[in-house]
Symmetry: D3
Subunit: 262 residues, 6 copies
Amino acid sequence: MRENATKTKWRRGEVTYGAWLSIPSAFSAETIAHAGFDWVCIDMQHGVIDYQVAVTMLLALGTGDCTPIVRVPWNEPGIIGKMLDAGAMGIIVPMVNSVEEAHAAVAACRYAPVGARSYGPTRATLYAGDDYFSHANEQVACIPMIETKRALDGLDAILDVPGIDAVYVGPSDMSITLGLPPGMDNGGAFEEARLRIAAACSKRGIAPGIHGHAALAAKHAAAGYQMITIHSDIAAIASGAAADLALVRGGVAGPADKTAYP
Amino acid sequence: MRENATKTKWRRGEVTYGAWLSIPSAFSAETIAHAGFDWVCIDMQHGVIDYQVAVTMLLALGTGDCTPIVRVPWNEPGIIGKMLDAGAMGIIVPMVNSVEEAHAAVAACRYAPVGARSYGPTRATLYAGDDYFSHANEQVACIPMIETKRALDGLDAILDVPGIDAVYVGPSDMSITLGLPPGMDNGGAFEEARLRIAAACSKRGIAPGIHGHAALAAKHAAAGYQMITIHSDIAAIASGAAADLALVRGGVAGPADKTAYP
Amino acid sequence: MRENATKTKWRRGEVTYGAWLSIPSAFSAETIAHAGFDWVCIDMQHGVIDYQVAVTMLLALGTGDCTPIVRVPWNEPGIIGKMLDAGAMGIIVPMVNSVEEAHAAVAACRYAPVGARSYGPTRATLYAGDDYFSHANEQVACIPMIETKRALDGLDAILDVPGIDAVYVGPSDMSITLGLPPGMDNGGAFEEARLRIAAACSKRGIAPGIHGHAALAAKHAAAGYQMITIHSDIAAIASGAAADLALVRGGVAGPADKTAYP
Amino acid sequence: MRENATKTKWRRGEVTYGAWLSIPSAFSAETIAHAGFDWVCIDMQHGVIDYQVAVTMLLALGTGDCTPIVRVPWNEPGIIGKMLDAGAMGIIVPMVNSVEEAHAAVAACRYAPVGARSYGPTRATLYAGDDYFSHANEQVACIPMIETKRALDGLDAILDVPGIDAVYVGPSDMSITLGLPPGMDNGGAFEEARLRIAAACSKRGIAPGIHGHAALAAKHAAAGYQMITIHSDIAAIASGAAADLALVRGGVAGPADKTAYP
Amino acid sequence: MRENATKTKWRRGEVTYGAWLSIPSAFSAETIAHAGFDWVCIDMQHGVIDYQVAVTMLLALGTGDCTPIVRVPWNEPGIIGKMLDAGAMGIIVPMVNSVEEAHAAVAACRYAPVGARSYGPTRATLYAGDDYFSHANEQVACIPMIETKRALDGLDAILDVPGIDAVYVGPSDMSITLGLPPGMDNGGAFEEARLRIAAACSKRGIAPGIHGHAALAAKHAAAGYQMITIHSDIAAIASGAAADLALVRGGVAGPADKTAYP
Amino acid sequence: MRENATKTKWRRGEVTYGAWLSIPSAFSAETIAHAGFDWVCIDMQHGVIDYQVAVTMLLALGTGDCTPIVRVPWNEPGIIGKMLDAGAMGIIVPMVNSVEEAHAAVAACRYAPVGARSYGPTRATLYAGDDYFSHANEQVACIPMIETKRALDGLDAILDVPGIDAVYVGPSDMSITLGLPPGMDNGGAFEEARLRIAAACSKRGIAPGIHGHAALAAKHAAAGYQMITIHSDIAAIASGAAADLALVRGGVAGPADKTAYP
């Protein structure tokens, strides 16, 4: 089976950098697939992307060297199974706020006896190889999101659930539930949470991950994060447009990261 | 943020009239967007409409003055979040039959601390403005359906759940669960329910809403309903076809409202 | 092979009534398929419809008794062949203004030795039967549009081109090229043209056809037209919406036939 | 209402043979619709198929004589309702492992008072007739999957849930949860399960069904199975390609049933 | 009718700046629609975009203030008519190399008596207003491409064809046909052509336009160009990704304009 | 640039075997991409496939080792350019019946100075490499169809047009224009044509190609054909279904090659 190179790097303690896709297009996905990221995530939660186009985007990602990851809309086994069968090598599961929800996320990502994933890797064998079943539980990454105060309150118990490969911090949702405005880089309670999550993961061999942009990457890496988002397709278009217009009209390109949500 | 003009009218005690979309097409949606309705609902439950085409329909509705509303397939936070992120200003949630289900519907429509909606209004900011987060909890309408005998039995407790802006009565499902045939205008127990729901809503400042057609609008308005469906795209095609054929062939156009389900 | 019932009626001198589809949806097409029209036309020229969705609409029309017809975007053999292979039983060809263009239209609709259609009735055999090749030249209707002053000037020569089963008058284009505003029912030069075309067709055994709406059907039939459009999907929605709003708001529904182009 | 001919055959004790669709295409579905199977299943779980294309596939199946069945991605009432409204005559529900899950599956397939299906058979009336509501509870088939050790442990209680018309065995998932490799025809514990399920169904008048391929059909029929899958669209392409290449290159076509999952 | 603000600026002698869309997505188009460009072009020739998605992109562009322009795949009246009917306010026509081809381009963009466009502005009236027909010939921009040595050789005669509002220079094709490598900013014969075309247009009141990127805008404006492309959606993603990776990995972001073709 | 391995084999005098895709699906295309064919052709003429889905199929083919080829609907430079830009490495051009049509086909496939292809290899560089422009004229295969009596009459002159890499014989169209029924293996005048075309190609270093199925491959190879179609996706499904039903019902699987058109 094709190796999940990102998961391998996590095991080695390395930092990985990824891109975030919100545009429903295999063409833009294929462009990103060849750009040099460790992994690329198709966002089916807040991105404008549903199953049928997501499959063509997985196809596009498969032409490059990046690890294809999918954020599903919700912690629901039907869609998690569909995306794994379509060839996703990792699943980011939103809003995992309790031990029960963490168990459910893991179960949906793993075949028995570890989990309860249903067998039928229709496209996954085309992408990853005929021996998919023998290695899928090992290679597929299960990545719950830690993005609420409630998850933070139960953090240790959640992280103790077996089968979690990485967690992904959603800074905006975490901020909101902590009483802060949505943002990528809030201080105060958010900053405490950011540091605490990384530490709690690291001591368990779980790779901590976080949403962001390139300017925050060094800061996150310094805190121990190993899965760091540094690029967003729609943000690149918006900020590129602002920069191009500023260049031509003599103005100043304003910040365009409003589209760079978690 | 763009104002939810329909919600404003409800607060003022005004009656609003809407159209119902079952056809998966931005073109027919755009035609309706300019027709003069207060609001237009994209029906993802019984309409032949899934996410990817629904987004283009929201885009189409946004070119007119109507308030764009979506009925989701089920009371499930993933799809509710996706449609709000795509720019829906109101969500009709089917089959809300208990206090717990009402709480879940509200939670899916509101950011913390009121609810549990995840942050990422990807298209919503394009439609409604950059200050979306600050006003979304106020402007977005949460509209549970009251459409079963069970919901009727627990009506007062359900309506007491904070955060409900309107309810929407599904006459056919209500009729069936009351032992009547599906229909828009049954008498008996359905008529009692129709009146009781309107009254229970009105005394709480909740806008009562109901599925129907133009010929029933006056009756519903007289009962206090403030959200009244008077048009269906697919019914207009079916009844228009029957009328055109009747005109040409000398027959009589039969009723074509069989497609005008809740 | 499945009989082209519309063509049979034309041969018998009967009048046929049809519906016009501009909405890209198999669902609305299927609703119309069961409404009772003799034929239904998928408009790929001015309708919002391209190949891939048109095939699903042909599938939908095939579930009813109507004859499925397609208006292609232009007199181009590639798309004519694709739509016939997809199961269309008649092709309306826009802007046939010369003898050469009429020959081209016929050639694209017929297999050798009569024409130059390429063989590969992929979906047509599923719809019409395994003996499609033996009967297609006989059953498929080739329907050039006569819709310009130039076509009118060369009318007799155009109609003498062998292989034309019907012609279709586009009232708006005919009006414009005659110096009149676009419209369904202009008088003057348009009225003369309308009568002259019907007469010129009838004496050659060609079925004259014309775009319009139900209120004009009797007038067209009286002039000898045998292929009369009386319904438009998008016009039904627009006029239905106007009527519903008028009923509710006490106003008067204005004419909604602006969407009912040729 | 159109009769569910497959369900009728089950009631008569007859064996039915079906085809399995994993390719998202109405064209391949229409080809299969005319091939002569008793029923055809659109696989929305492991097939590469989501709602919008599944509706066009139901349209395609409706042009043939086969009974259209859908396997939904998960035991979730929203998607079950959508597929029934779109014209499915039977629903295969994955992973029904408990009495509660069986009740939920039945409830989603039946109108009150038997179940909790919401009313709005938008396309179903076009396919099955205007009297759909009166007969749908009788004609629609509810088909839970029995595919885990857990379901096997609770088999009798699950099968005693009223409203189950057939069950469908997923050999690979059953094998995995029994500690065997995924496969269509494992012996040992799987073989015991296969026989036990058929027997338990038969004595209750429930039609036992099972995934497989043509070479296993006689074996399954001998065991009492009445709903037997003998064809897979994607497997036919893969095995056909292997056979064609073997013929030309003088090699031997290897087994191509790796794509023939449950 | 909605004014073509870009055409108005050209008449006033102003310079306009535009964005180029190659990604088949209404979401990225809507983001660009609100960015502040004078016009935005949907590229159906070299972009990965066909009719059905292009219509949703026109819908998206219509929510902003930019003028929506389409580059069609070829100088063919069918697709030019379809895009104008869908609401394009300008058409860029590739490879106009002769007077005859220029006449054909103009004819496809104008109603009689000036041209031969067929009437049926299905979506255009929704976008631009009910009085579309009266003003369309005036408001719609016909923009032939001058992009080959052959066109350059016949430049004056081509530009003398009545009805040309602007021309658009394709630097890569012009370069190739002049014996140079494809590029945005070749010197030599290309530079001569660039200056000569601008001059020849300006003296006739035709707006000269050219493909490029923001860094070339000042140079083009200095040469008299009034329609200057400064942004490409796919190039923004590719260059943004390169820059983000360079920032994180300490490398240098290379030029990413390989995707910024004409 | 990625080598066109099929073209290389032709130059070496080797025989290549290919598969034919009529189903609009990247999933079935990806399955075929990994099956072991030398080349795979996406049929946009008689297949149920238009541009937008064809691009995803090219993406799918690119994951395997086969050479991706496209048959366009007609000899039209717009669609030929679009498919080359999307990554096709060869273009089959239908109905090339004259020297002029052969020149047009070549011109559409080649950049200046050899041809007139417009520059903008949007997806082609992603698939084939950044140095695409320098090698495309050499690597891309231009493959006119010889499929009519008229082409046969002018065969030598057509084949003398520079730039033809291979020709593709359409047996059914050739048969029809020779007065025979459509078929893959007619004798008489068709057989003479089959042999004559192969010989005329071979002496010019052009690879002769022909549509067919696996059982005819040896015969075609013996005649000198180097590009031989041996598999069709839709035929595999139809014949597989017939075989599976025959196995189960004890009947005999009839020939299913009716879908295997040229």
